[in-house]
Amino acid sequence: MLEHLLSPAARKRALLLVLAVVTALSLVACGEAEEPESPGEATPEPVEVTNVILASTTSTEDSGLFSELVPAFQDAYPQYRLDVVAVGTGQALEIGRAKDADVLLVHAKADEEQFVADGYGVERRDVMYNDFVIVGPGSDPGGIAGTDDAAAALTAIAEGGYTFISRGDDSGTHKKELSLWEAAGIEPAGDWYLSIGQGMGDTLNMASESKAYTIADRGTYLSMKDRIELVVVVEGDERLFNPYGVIVVTDASNPEGAQAFADWIVSAEGQDVIREFGVDTYGEPLFIPNTQ
């Protein structure tokens, strides 16, 4: 090795390398020195792209909304690259507390307000809402189809012992479900109540396979409708509405990017993207923009 380094050929190569580096450096130096003299010739400086981490939920991701939202945002703000981390609501808030995300788009209003009150978020703004539906097998063994009282429907399921699948993952959907059981005055437990700790898609698949009832956000349900054997049995109860909020994380690593996203999604432009999403495919919007 040493001999090799010291061989004449190697020395020559090393010398050439040093020369090349020196030449390159001097050229750069000259270029810099010359720059002030000809400012008019400078090309427009390319935008430096920084990334903005958006923590959101798996159900939002599964709905496909981000595939519209992200390109639209980036067209408006080419200086930002929006990276979406889709996790459970609980984990999304946790990521926000750890400042591993810059901005959050989640749907658990009480927790979000607590998050801001604790100082982890700058401000919460309404973005949109979607609604939940209670779905079940077409045969509807509990005979609850047609009602618009979600709590009454759940009571019927529990009393009949019909299989109900709970996401059980601390997600917004799970929290919504729990609030409905509370409204019904039932502590869900027993062989009929399966808590699976998984995402919306998995839960719907399992409900379909197991001929069970579950609660789902309409968007995910519509996007999977053709592949599963479940029908909507309860909808329209106000308690099934699911508001989404956007929160800029306090001391985010990219505060400008985070703020830009939050401002954009509540702007007319962002709200239009939300309003149009899903209409082509399902004939109805999946999310209703509701920024005041």
């Binding site: 997600s171 808590s195 699976i196 399992m206």
Partner: protein
């Protein structure tokens, strides 16, 4: 750093409190791991033995397939098993999806090639002349095979341990076909995924520590057994 200390405390507390939920998860973990390891041995060990100790047409192809099987991601196996067991799948009438049985089937498909491949390697490492020696003392083909298996027993044991390890720490397949149903098909790995999704990293890590403790105990036992054998063999 505090997060890790908390996790250890949580893990110990969980174990000592012995909540029914945790024991259900541990029981399901063992049930699936043991069933799929035993089944993996039943299918994989003879297969591995035949691949390692005999010569036949198609042997190389079989070995290549086994090696591929060892490398197939568990989620792919889970997906295929799910498609078979789904109500729309060919085996849907069995109604097995989202059950411990379904998980055991998927995990057996994972453990079998591992056990077969490693058994084949262990048996192939028994010198041919040792088998020739047994033959020359009057051993039949089967007796010769049993001797080779006995000679390779540490390697075979390691193969079984690897199979067990793969199924006990596997997550992709069991999540897909088991469904992580609380009190039924929830095992340690799926519970970890779930708790981390919920943002309860401490609990997730605590469950991870319990899982590590199980595999550590398992490997400790194996190492002890190997060591005591080596001492006897003077190697």
């Amino acid at each position: 750093m505090q997060v890790f200390v908390d996790a250890v405390v949580t893990a110990v507390t969980l174990l000592f409190q012995g909540s029914a939920e945790l024991w259900n998860v541990i029981a399901a973990t063992f049930e699936v791991a043991i069933i799929s390891t035993v089944a993996g041995v039943a299918f994989g060990a003879p297969m591995g033995f035949v691949m390692g100790a005999t010569r036949f047409r198609g042997r190389r192809l079989l070995i290549a397939l086994t090696n591929t099987g060892m490398a197939v991601p568990p989620v792919v196996i889970g997906l295929v098993v799910m498609m078979f067991l789904s109500r729309r799948g060919p085996l849907g009438f069995l109604g097995l999806l989202y059950s411990v049985d379904a998980m055991s089937i998927a995990q057996t498909l994972i453990s079998t090639p591992i056990i077969a491949g490693l058994t084949a390697a262990a048996v192939a490492s028994v010198p041919y002349k040792l088998r020739l020696q047994a033959r020359s003392l009057g051993a039949s083909r089967i007796q010769e095979a049993l001797l080779a298996l006995k000679e390779a027993r540490l390697g075979v044991l390691a193969a079984v341990a690897s199979g067990f390890g793969a199924v006990v720490r596997g997550v992709g397949a069991v999540m897909m076909v088991g469904g992580n149903i609380e009190g039924q098909t929830r095992v340690l790995t799926t519970a970890i995924v779930q708790e981390s999704r919920k943002g309860d990293f401490g609990l997730a890590l605590a469950l991870g520590l319990i899982l590590m403790f199980i595999t550590f105990t398992m490997n400790g036992f194996l190492t002890w057994y190997q060591h005591s054998n080596e001492r006897f063999e003077g190697r």
